[in-house]
Subunit: 302 residues, 2 copies
């Protein structure tokens, strides 16, 4: 069997999760890890032993697929680079709404030009949750779906707080209140000479927080609060045909980077089975993500 | 917009659910209902008003898709008939394991010969649950999934009990005991002159019941016990990458024929978007089942 050659780009939490998932996949081979920052090579190399760690993917054996474990805002540019070199990409772009559709349009053109595949927003939300939300509407085309995140650490919200002037370190927790309403618990360690009240005010006014009940708490240490567990609870009550009150729920409690990395690795497998172009997860047959003989898989999974 | 022309074959519980779902779908047109039994035409016609009710589908305007709301054992033959006439088919064949794969092999050849599509096992289990089971393995490739059915009336088990000599009427309820273990509660009305103990013994010895804790109860009336609500609770605990204890659950409480009929109608829509051949639900992109502009749907669902 020809193994799928994978490069992992980035080695933060999700990068590590992706590396673990690729190494644990019997049908994949990790050709290397690509870092942006040259100064980190030695440290990452010492963790990864014999896996090549480089700053330019052209230094590696050419991968079939690059898993982009990088911030969402870097995805459009970096994905285009890989696609233009004939390498399919997987990202976990997580800015919901129009931005995902724009990314899909842009990468679709580039992927088709280069006869490769871009799978976008391949985390758990957006990602597998998007597939679940779609399936809920197969059963009940009319009704409401509520997605309740957490309890867990929101990477996106944490980044926003860390960027506020005077914040030395921070984490933002998402606490589900049901029916898609969330409370935000923000813990900040502030730099000497800065005013906590002003920082708390800045957090609450930020577009990421302004619509949610937000509590800001001053602490002396953030590291001891970090737990990358996260979860989701999706609830739908809707109508099948003309029959109301059909109730469906989906609940997940996961280690966030491990789950995200695994889903991206699974998506790399699916990428090789699609025609050239750009795909979000609800546009791909679920079976394409799974390793193994299709008939045997279907016998078990149908 | 050209509406998708649908014929519904059969008018039992699931047939009614399918008719309701097709009528409630803005992109579908019900061209008629096909019955096996001529004597029922008048009664069904009186329920369906201006919808043509026939015993031979060739009496109808040619549909794009036939929804086969018929017993599983009739599916292979009836599906082949429609496919051989260039009509795509949807069934809810529910005999798990090898039988589904054999059906898929057989119909795949016939569908391709006739350039149409067969979507098989398009209920909720097998069906949308099969898609969910697959997605659980995208997130956690290693681990165990338990599918717990009920509480609710099992059509398959009920049919088996009704076929036992001396049984006038019956229902079989499935009670979930967790980790995929089920209790069966069987209520029977027996014909005069038959021995209840012998019938109870026959139920418990049947392959459908022999592995489950089964209780058989004698009652005077079955009709008053019928509630077609059903449900499922799927649980998976598994490994993402190298990280254990990832926990995922899916729970559904539905009116069985309405949900089944709706999923079959949604599958009719998906059938028109696939290349010729036979497909189970995990082999189809979830978004293909949903009505509406794809970009707008993705904006909402991703």
């Amino acid at each position: 069997m020809q193994k799928l050659k994978i490069a992992v780009v980035g080695f933060g939490n999700v990068g590590r999760g992706s590396v673990d998932a690729v190494k644990a996949s019997p049908d994949m081979e990790l050709v290397g890890v690509v870092l942006r920052n040259k100064t980190k090579i030695q440290r990452v190399q010492s963790v990864l032993n014999d896996v090549p760690v480089v700053t330019d993917f052209r230094q590696l054996e050419k991968p079939d697929v690059a898993i982009l474990a990088i911030p969402s805002r870097s995805v459009p540019k970096v994905a285009a680079q890989y696609l233009n070199n004939g390498i399919s990409t997987i990202d976990c772009f997580d800015i919901h709404g129009d931005a995902i559709i724009e990314l899909r349009d842009d990468l679709d053109i580039i992927a088709k030009q280069n006869e490769c595949v871009a799978v976008i927003s391949a985390g758990w939300d957006p990602g597998t949750d998007s597939m679940i939300r779609t399936i809920l509407e197969i059963v009940t085309p009319r009704g409401l779906t509520f997605t309740n995140y957490g309890p867990g650490m929101s990477m996106g919200h944490t980044v926003v707080v860390k960027a506020i002037d005077g914040v030395e370190d921070a984490i933002s927790l998402t606490i589900p209140q049901g029916t898609g309403i969330h409370r935000r618990l923000v813990y900040v360690k502030i730099k000497d000479g800065f005013d906590f009240d002003k920082i708390a005010e800045a957090v609450k006014k930020d577009p990421y927080f302004v619509n949610d009940e937000t509590h800001v708490v001053k602490v002396e240490d953030i590291k001891s609060l970090i737990d990358v567990g996260h979860g989701v609870h999706m609830e739908r009550k809707g109508v099948a045909g003309i029959t109301h009150n059909q109730i469906i729920e989906f609940t997940m409690s996961v280690t966030n980077p491990a789950a995200t990395g695994q889903i991206m690795a699974s998506a790399a497998r699916a990428a090789k089975k699609q025609a050239p172009g750009c795909y979000s997860l609800p546009e791909i047959p679920p079976i394409d993500f799974i390793h193994g003989d299709k008939r045997n898989l279907l016998k078990k999974l149908i």
